[in-house]
Amino acid sequence: MSVEHRGLLSQLVRELVRLPGIGHKTAQRLAFHILKTDGEEALRLADAIRAVKERLAFCRQCRNIAEEELCEFCRDPKRDRSTILVVEEPSTLYAIERTASFRGLYHVLLGALSPLDGVGPSDIRAQDLIDRLQGGGVKEVILATSPTIEGEATAIYLTKLIKPHGVHVSRIAYGVPVGMDLDYADEVTLTKSIEGRRDL
């Protein structure tokens, strides 16, 4: 059954369809679920969306998601302020944070350069990073952009931008995922892992 041109429900479907990865059928299913679910549960969802939009913003310093002017990491006095790890999106930041292996600060670019799609430096938060470096105290910047064409373009660009400031720049390692059988690794991954080998 189509819910097109049926007032409030079709309005909800139209809004849901705008979400990434949601097609018309899925939007319709979600709309009917919301309609059938009890009022309190549906309103909790609405309140959560409203709260995210009203109370969350981007950290003034690192552009991570924050409930206050500074995010939880920038506010934490125990973090190492001499090292900044650069990621494309906040979701990557939380993936790295789950490892508990990094205790420095972050910088979120909110995007990546793309020669294919014409995404240039003014579309990402690169200048904010340079402004942070000019404040002094940073000894190393670790580039943790994805090993995709966009991530590589961003890493090359940032390296050129950061080096004149006398800050050490490093890139996260390329290589074979832990637990993988080497027979199944592709040529580029193997080449990069040999180039990036380390002494034992």
Binding site: P115, G120, T148, K160, P177
Partner: protein
């Protein structure tokens, strides 16, 4: 659901859903195709880097009934073009060639010579030839192969001879007409025409005539190069119907100092 197997070059790759990618290829046997690679973004994906832009791979895929997207089952790297990933200038040039092929070819239209020219263009860029000139010359080659060969002998409006040997001095290029126009027709045209000197015209004709493996022997500097770059840029915008990201997309933002390879 026949299984298709073909050499292919990745033109573009977009995130899709939780961990998938929608990949646009130009293939040797079937022309441009789009397919879904399930789980391609997962750490232990069997595709690895084989579906990254500019990589030439041996592709296995099948057509799913009622779906315009193919299902990609396997991709093995034939030529990785790693050098194109490590230099922004080369990356931008390769991106321009890939974008042009993606924009001017239709899905399923076979064009083995387009495939071979694209591979040759990537090799020339990686071999260290002048990136901007290489990109320009291969754009001309690709336009010639995809049905958008610029008219370089006669006026596209009145058919008068305006080639290098015609004696006409003030030649103009009309992007919307796809070729040269004589001075009289240029004056009558409402849209802007671009000047093209005999040297630039000769270079354009040679680039169209020469085979991809020798086209980079052509050299151009100064006015000739600037004129031809302007002509091709305007013509590409007309045939694709949009402004493709420029071949020097960082320079366009006023950051030429940021160009170059990682130290």
């Amino acid at each position: 659901m026949p299984l298709l197997k073909t050499p292919a070059i990745t033109l573009n790759s977009r995130k899709w859903g939780e961990a998938d990618r929608i990949v646009t290829f130009y293939t040797l046997r079937f022309g441009k195709l789009r397919g879904v690679a399930r789980g391609a973004r997962r750490m232990k994906s069997r595709f690895g880097s084989a579906l990254e832009p500019f990589v030439q791979c041996e592709l296995n895929l099948f057509e799913k009934h009622g779906d315009s997207l193919y299902r990609i089952t396997q991709a093995d790297i034939r030529e990785a073009f790693v050098g194109l990933r490590e230099d922004l200038t080369l990356m931008s040039g390769a991106a321009r060639l890939a974008n042009l092929v993606a924009a001017v070819t239709g899905e399923g239209d076979q064009g083995p010579r387009i495939f071979e020219t694209l591979v040759s263009g990537f090799r020339s860029l990686e071999d260290g030839n002048d990136p901007a000139l290489t990109t320009l010359l291969y754009q001309i080659k690709l336009l010639g192969l995809t049905g958008f060969r610029p008219q370089t002998d006669h006026c596209t409006a009145c058919s008068a001879a305006v080639g290098p040997t015609s004696g006409t001095v003030l030649r103009q290029f009309a992007p919307t007409s796809g070729g040269l126009v004589c001075p009289d027709c240029a004056r009558r045209r409402p849209e802007r025409c671009l000047p093209i000197s005999p040297g630039s015209l000769a270079l354009l004709q040679q680039a169209l005539r020469w085979t991809p493996d020798v086209v980079t022997r052509l050299k151009a500097t100064g006015q000739v190069r600037a004129e031809l770059e302007a002509v091709i840029e305007a013509y590409v915008t007309v045939v694709t119907g949009k402004h493709l990201p420029p071949a020097n997309f960082l320079a366009a933002e006023g950051n030429p100092q940021a160009y170059g390879t990682r130290d």
